[in-house]
């Protein structure tokens, strides 16, 4: 019956009125991202402090959005930045273009660039979204702000159960 069904519907909404809201209050509470979440990039260093990036531009070649710009220069004995022959004198990522696909991470032969977890990247101007090497290099001046969920529940071996 149409009428009783409608009344049932009113009962459903009325019960929902007394439930605890599921809202997560964003700036105060940040829901942890998944361990493989792809956010703001990071450039890593070796343990001795040298940059892993050798300025090979493979990331720029792999980038489908063409948002990475690398200008390499030779390391010298006096000024040594990276472990290889060359280093990235300029390393810029244009965050207005980046689609966070992670191809740069795959392309990198030295694991120098990875995608981190931070997603709060809003700025007041487009210029501020062109990230320079100083902003990307670890330890980054911008603190890591995004909590990450524990890896264990997601870290299941691919061959599990097949053996």
């Amino acid at each position: 019956m149409a009428v009783t069904d409608n009344l049932k519907g009113f009962g459903v909404t009325f019960r929902h009125l007394f439930r605890k809201p599921v809202t997560q209050q964003f700036p105060e509470y940040k829901r942890p991202v998944y361990p493989r979440f792809r956010g703001r990039h990071r450039l890593h260093r070796h343990e001795n402090g040298l940059e892993k990036c050798v300025g090979c531009s493979l990331c720029a070649a792999a980038c489908p959005a063409d948002c990475i710009r690398v200008v390499a220069a030779e390391n010298t004995v006096e000024e040594r930045y990276s472990a290889g022959e060359r280093y990235a004198r300029i390393y810029e990522i244009n965050m207005t273009r980046c689609i966070f696909c992670g191809y740069c991470e795959l392309a990198c032969p030295f694991d120098a660039i990875t995608l981190g977890n931070d997603y709060e990247l809003a700025e007041m101007s487009r210029d501020a979204l062109v990230y320079t090497k100083e902003m990307l290099l670890e330890p980054s001046p911008a603190p890591r702000r995004t909590p990450v969920a524990p890896v264990d529940p997601y870290d299941i071996p691919a061959q599990d159960g097949l053996a």
Binding site: N6, G9, F10, H16, L17, K20, P21
Partner: protein
């Protein structure tokens, strides 16, 4: 003793501001409550519990550019929201919020209504229909097909539901033998029963028809955003849009006030002062309308017409005939 001109002017000023304040609170309350119905929080950022949200909204709307669309008829375009808001506010001129009251710290007696004409109920329905001129003119003058469709729908909906609305109310009028709203309240005290009990069918019809009159979900077809963008106020922005919205909410509050007078005994009630009773009863209806909004989807247009003409109208007529028979038998 009837109030003088100056007193009436002051009372009107106070009442308009109170109603506008009630409108602001109502927008906040509706958004919060709908949020809770949907298991979320609703606006809670501006001020404590988000209470300053209406003021923030107002600040935003005032800053918006005031523009007249190309091809629109400027005068009618500008005057349409005013018509709607004016007629929605005018309803409150005959709504009694209590009996006589003494102003605190003086012994000056005033009535808690602006006017008490013996045709108050007629005036209410005349003004309720009048506000649709605003929707009609606004939709027609903005030279947009969506607006025109919206206003056509608004007017045909009004015509369909006005009839059943009036017929539903006539039952109450027959029982109370008066059209004056204070008279209806006194009649309910005299009979010792709220008219919701003997006039329950009329009450249900009134509830449905008044929901259609103020074009709220499930009868908000004049502004069905799924197919008409925003209906008659598609081309309106900023404060003019706010005035249309204001008119709609004020009409809703007005219909709640009329419903509490007709069916729930108005300002009469024990222990608490009259205006408080009135507000509590109005709140019941406002809550009900938000509850309906959060439960029912929008009806299809042909079903709206079917409900109006083939269900509500015969039901209202039957209710009227039965009521008149009983009233005549008892007299």
């Amino acid at each position: 003793m009837p109030d003088g001109f100056i007193v009436t002017l002051i009372k009107s000023f106070v009442l308009v501001n109170l109603v506008m304040g009630l409108f602001a609170i109502m927008t906040w309350f509706e958004r919060r409550l709908i949020g809770r119905f949907q298991v979320r929080l609703g606006p809670n950022r501006v001020g404590p519990f988000g209470l300053l949200q209406p003021i923030a909204d107002l600040g935003k709307l005032i800053q918006k550019e005031s523009l007249i669309p190309y091809g629109a008829s400027p005068f009618l375009y500008l005057v349409a929201p005013v018509i709607s808001l004016f007629s929605a506010l005018m309803v409150f001129s005959v709504v009694p919020f209590g009996g006589e009251a003494t102003i605190p710290f003086t012994d000056y007696q005033i009535y808690l209504w602006i006017a008490d004409p013996n045709v108050a109920l007629l005036l209410v329905f005349a003004l309720g229909s009048f506000s649709f001129y605003g929707f009609l003119v606004g939709g027609w003058s903005s030279s947009s097909k969506y607006s025109l469709y919206g206003s056509m729908r608004a007017v045909s909906q009004l015509v369909s539901y006005e009839v059943s609305l009036a017929l539903a109310v006539i039952g109450v009028v027959m029982m109370s033998q008066t059209l004056s709203l204070t008279g209806i309240v006194e009649a309910q005290q005299r009979d010792g029963i709220w008219y919701i009990v003997p006039q329950f069918v009329g009450f249900v019809i009134y509830l449905l028809a008044s929901t259609a009159e103020v074009s709220r979900i499930p009868f908000d077809l004049p502004e069905a955003e799924g197919e008409l963008v925003a209906g008659y106020h598609t081309e309106y922005g900023g404060m003019r849009w706010a005035m249309f919205q204001n008119a709609e909410y004020v009409a809703l509050i007005g219909f709640s006030a009329i419903a509490s007078i007709l069916f729930l005994g108005g300002y009469a009630g024990p222990w608490l002062p009259g205006p408080l009773w009135m507000l509590i009863k109005m709140f019941v209806f406002l809550f009900l309308s938000i509850w309906i909004r959060s439960t029912l989807p929008r009806v299809r247009y042909d079903r709206l017409m079917t409900l109006g003409w083939k269900v509500l109208l015969p039901l209202a007529t039957a209710n009227l005939l039965v009521t008149s028979a009983i009233v005549a038998y008892r007299a």
